[in-house]
Every structure is written in C-alpha cells, then in structure tokens.
C-alpha cells in the first residue's frame, strides 16, 4: 500500500522547479526505544541538515527562489509503515524540512519514487538503491563514511570514472537522471560565489591519470557544473582520501556503489 502525507509544518515547494530528494526514514532516524515517542538521530541526519542549509542560503539570497531541495521522507517496508505516526512526530520534533512523507512496502516503494518525481534517492540499503537505479531513478548509497559528516556545507562528490564512461548502447534512464540532477546542482551553485557557497562539489577519478580527471572536469563543466575540489587518484587507495573529504553522498552515473 502506498500513501503520501504532506507535512503541514513546512511550506510546500514548487513542483516544477524544486529538486526532489527522497531519503529513507531508516537512514534519517536511529532506533529509539519502544516507549520513547521520538526517534534518535540517524546516519543521514547531518545530510538532511546540510540540504536544509542550502535551502536557507538560497532563500536568503532570493526570498522568491523556487530552485530548492524538496525533501521526501520515504519508508520502504511494511514494518516501518506501521511506525508512521512516530516518523511524522519525530520529523516535527526536530523541525526537519521534510515536505512530505511517503509510506510504502518493499514491493512498491520504487513506484512511490517515480510517482513523486524523485530526482535523487538516498538509502543505506544496497538492494533498495539497486532496485531504484534499475527503474531509472538516480540513487546513492549512504554509509558511515559519508552522510554523517557534520560539515557546514553540503558536500557532493562525483565519481569521475562514471562521468566519462562511454555508453555501449542507448543512454540508460538513470544516466539521464544523473545528468539532469547534476545540471540542477550546477544551477544552484551559480546562485553563490566561491567564497560563500553552502554547496561544495567535488570530483574524484580513480582509473587513468590526470587526463581522465581533466576530461571529467570538462564534461561536468559542459553540463554547467563547476567543480570546487578535484582528486585524481590514479589507482591509489580510495578509503584514505574519502575519509578526509567526507562527502555527504557520492554520485556516479547510475548506481554509485564503490567497493573497498
């Protein structure tokens, strides 16, 4: 069963211009004890706050701004569906800028994503992210190394190897979704100067050397994305670099599941 509940605490965003990001409630809230009314803060809590800060800055610059993040809190299984009142009350308790709540089961959560015109789906569950990608929804996997970074800025990292990967056939829908999402990020970025941006866009390339990274920089530039930080690893180990950069999420064209 699929249902959508609007959060009346929050002003609804303009559907034509907002960038819809769905995050699973499991990622945002930690487990609370049964008799507590309110959930604890989960892995993706800092990520949500960073998204909110971007909105705040956008509105500060232009109170009539329509290009904002529209955050949807998604439950993806029947068990969680039963917790819906608590999910809603916890959201209100923390004053999170969630526009609406979507409740569904394992079988139909992707339908929910498509129905709600979700442009980016963030989950801690690899299976969920994979399913969404297969249906053409841009997804990113959240884990302890990402998401929970308490940075003031929203830090997005593009995985450059995927950015310049040649297609073997027609462009997959998830890749198209990635391109349009990145173009929107680029648009948001242009609202700010380099020194006062609440959004930081990074690029990391692993395969190849400096030329691969240069190509990825050019490709992103052509999509209107201004990369702030670039890391060319030339096959050096990921982990140490990622643990310094601490992005909130990592984007590749399609599903960004980076092993190791």
């Amino acid at each position: 069963m699929v249902s959508t509940v609007l959060n009346t605490d929050v002003k609804q965003k303009d559907a034509d211009h907002a960038v819809v990001i769905a995050v699973t409630s499991r990622a945002v809230f930690g487990s609370g004890a049964d008799d507590d009314e309110v959930y604890g803060e989960g892995l993706a809590f800092p990520l949500l706050q960073a998204l909110q800060r971007v909105n705040e800055h956008l509105l500060m610059n232009n109170p009539a701004e329509l290009l904002l993040f529209d955050i949807v809190l998604l439950t993806t299984d029947s068990q969680q569906q039963q917790q819906s009142p608590r999910i809603i009350s916890s959201t209100r308790h923390y004053g999170l800028e969630v526009g609406r709540f979507c409740f569904s089961s394992e079988e139909d959560f992707v339908e929910n994503l498509l129905k709600n015109n979700v442009q980016l789906f963030l989950s801690t569950d690899r299976n969920e992210a994979s399913q969404a990608t297969q249906r053409g929804v841009l997804s990113a996997l959240l884990d302890h190394q990402t998401a929970s970074c308490p940075s003031e800025q929203l830090k997005v990292l593009f995985f450059g190897d995927a950015v310049i990967q040649p297609d073997t056939g027609p462009t997959p829908p998830s890749r198209q979704a990635a391109r349009s999402f990145s173009a929107q990020l680029g648009e948001m970025q242009r609202r700010f100067t380099m020194s006062d941006s609440p959004l930081s866009i990074g690029l990391v390339t692993w395969r190849g050397g400096r030329d691969s990274c240069a190509d990825a920089l050019h490709t992103l530039r052509s999509r209107g994305v201004r990369v702030d930080e670039a890391y060319c690893l030339a096959e050096a180990p990921w982990g140490p670099i990622l643990s310094v950069f601490r992005p909130h999420f990592l984007l590749s064209d399609g599903f960004g599941g980076l092993e190791g």
């Binding site: 310049i164 990967q165 040649p166 297609d167 462009t171 100067t193 380099m194 020194s195 930081s200 990074g202 690029l203 395969r207 190849g208 050397g209 400096r210 030329d211 691969s212 990274c213 240069a214 190509d215 920089l217 050019h218 201004r226 990369v227 702030d228 930080e229 670039a230 890391y231 060319c232 690893l233 030339a234 096959e235 050096a236 180990p237 140490p240 670099i241 643990s243 310094v244």
Partner: protein
C-alpha cells in the same frame, strides 16, 4: 511526425558520435604508454604545491588584489597558456630522471618516486595546472585540489614522504604532524644544474638532527657547542624532521649499488653544516652511522657562509632551518627550502626575535 523523427535522429547521431569519441578516449587511456604510478605504500611520495611547481607571481597578485573569483577567472581565461616553471621544477625533473633509471634496472619494482600535486587551489584552476603539466610532460598523475581546504589530511592519506610548499603555515603544520616539509624559495639567479643526477643538500642541526645542539649555540655560542659535542661524541643525536627523507633517498641509492651502479648513481646527498670537522663533526657522522644512513659528502664549514660552497655543489634542493642561510643561498642561485623547526625560528642570526606582546598575558615573555 517526420519532423520529430528527423530531429530525434539527429540527436541520436550526435550522441553516437560523442559516445564514440568517449569510447576511443577511454580505450586510448587504457593503452597509454605512460607507466603506472606506484602504490603509495611502496613509493617515496613527494607532494608539491602548485606555486612550487610553477611560478605564479602575476596570478598571486591578482588573487591578493582582486580576490578569489577574479583569480580563478584569470586562470580560466588563460587555460591554454602553460605556466612558467617554479622553484621545485628542476627537483621534479631530477626525480623523474631517477625513476627512469630505476625502471631500467628494476622494471617491476614500485620503489620509485611518486610526485603528487597537492594544492589549495580551486579545481577550475586545476585545468590550467593539468595543461601546464602536459605541456612540460611532467610525470605527475595524482593530485589533490582542495579548493581551500587544508591539505594535511590528504598528505597523510598519500603517505607523503616530503611536502614542498611556498606557504610556511602549511609547512609548519605538516612538520607538527610528523611529515617532512619545507618552504621553497625561488633563487635570485638561474644556474645550470645536473640533468643526470639528483643532488640534495641538507643542513645538519634542526634538519636531519634535532635542534638540541642549535639550542646550545643560541644560548652559549658556537665554541661552547664544539666543546659539548666532543664530550658527547658517542651519544647519537635525536632525529630531525628530514631524517626520514634522507633515509628514503638512501634506500633508493642502495638499489643502484646493488646493480653495481655506485659510480653512476643518479642520487647524491650532501651534508652542509656550520659544525667543525675537528670538534663537532664526529658526533654527526657517528649519529648517521648509528641510524644506518650514509651521506655522500659531509662538508663542515666551521661557521663559514654556506653560499659559495652550495654554488659549487649545485643541489636541486637545499634544506636549512635558518632563514639567513636560506637568504644567502638564494642570492647566489641555490634553490633553497626552509625547514621551520626548532629554536632557530625564534632567532634572526644570533639575535632573539622580539615576539609581539600577547594581549592576554600578564607577565612579559621570558627571554633566553
């Protein structure tokens, strides 16, 4: 209906063309004749900042006078113009030469120099940096362009053996984190350097060794030091910030010796110290020996200026902890790198530099 089909066919065609170009680029990349960079744990990693690798004096002026946006825009406007070589450029070329020689003798080994560009610059400036690296065909495949964030974490992530920058704050921070580092200065003249042998010159105290002896000199003078050192000849000195870098160089040198290339070794190291051979020299040599380290030439100046001797050596880089030695070397054309470590930082020649009054302190700072 047909119009829609035509335009979609055209779009398909241009997409296919683009995809083909991308595929070719990826394939060419894979077939690149460039050697693969070694894994950081096997390599001697040298991190250089953009301003040590290239001279960006004019651009720096734009940054200071007009701010970061104009600075980045300036670079983007001149993206295809290569930057001029900076202080670390000859050093980098010399490292590349050592790598070629090592690859000839040990084709499968990853014990090589790995040069990483470690810059605070914005990634948009990075495009010009990459273009410049391409122009000079430098062997730099790894970089971090941190867009203003501190490089220290990344230095550690790359297991950096030596960090060179023009920013003394960052260099100090690196040293405090246990990473060998030095602030580079562009020499005032250009002199010819060897292109077959990497030459690295080190000061002794507070560079290879701790500043314990430096403290004695500052407090009691050079003669007192010489006496003290004679007394403690057999007690090894403690390590200084660049000891591990000398060690790394020694390890690579031994690879050449193992193949009978001692006379033709493309790395040569020098100790250039104010110590006197007669009195305080022994302790230094014994300390090196106790560490299992060799230095090719030890030059004891007994207090004489270092400039003229360095001119004879012509190192690709000269490390010293005292700014007046750096200034002297610079004037005569030696590429110098200041190691901001130890008691020498509080003095100018032998005078204690007056520290500005700290507003919160109630008592006046103690003077040694």
């Amino acid at each position: 209906m047909s119009e829609i089909k035509d335009s979609s066919a055209k779009a398909e065609e241009s997409r296919t063309e683009k995809d083909w170009k991308e595929a070719k680029a990826a394939f060419d990349n894979l077939k690149s004749t460039k050697p693969r960079p070694p894994k950081p744990q096997n390599a001697v990693t040298i991190a250089v900042s953009s301003r040590t690798l290239f001279s960006m004096v004019w651009e720096r002026k734009v940054f200071k006078e007009e701010g970061v946006e104009k600075y980045v825009a300036h670079h983007m406007d001149h993206e295809d113009e290569p930057l001029k070589p900076g202080a670390a450029f000859p050093f980098v070329k010399a490292l590349m030469n050592v790598n070629s020689r090592l690859r000839e003798l040990y084709p499968d080994s990853e014990e090589l120099f790995d040069i990483v560009l470690m810059t605070n610059n914005h990634a948009q400036v990075g495009v010009r940096l990459i273009n410049s690296i391409n122009h000079y065909d430098l062997a730099i495949e790894r970089f971090c362009m941190t867009g203003g964030q501190s490089p220290i974490g990344y230095l550690k992530a790359y297991m950096t053996n030596l960090y060179l920058s023009t920013d003394s704050k960052k260099v100090k921070e690196a040293i405090e984190e246990g990473i060998a580092a030095a602030t580079m200065f562009l020499p005032e003249k250009e002199i010819a350097l060897s292109d077959t042998q990497l030459k690295v010159a080190f000061d002794g105290d507070a560079v290879l060794f701790s500043d314990e002896s430096e403290i004695i000199v500052k407090q009691h003078g050079l003669d007192a030091l010489f006496e003290h050192e004679k007394q403690f000849e057999n007690k090894p000195l403690a390590q200084g910030p660049l000891k591990c870098f000398l060690e790394a160089l020694g390890k690579l040198q031994r690879k050449f010796y193992a193949k009978n290339e001692r006379l033709n070794c493309p790395i040569r190291t020098y100790l250039v110290t104010a110590r006197s051979a007669a009195s305080s020299g022994a302790r230094v040599l014994k300390t090196l020996r106790s560490w299992g380290l060799e230095i090719d030439e030890a030059l004891f100046l007994a207090g004489a200026p270092k400039g003229p001797l360095l001119l004879k050596i012509r190192p690709h880089i000269f490390f010293d902890d005292q700014m007046f030695h750096i200034e002297g070397a610079k004037e005569m054309g030696t590429i110098s790198a200041h190691v901001p470590y130890g008691i020498g930082q509080k003095y100018n020649k032998s005078k204690l530099i007056e520290q500005p009054e700290q507003p919160a302190k109630k008592e006046s700072p103690k003077k040694i």
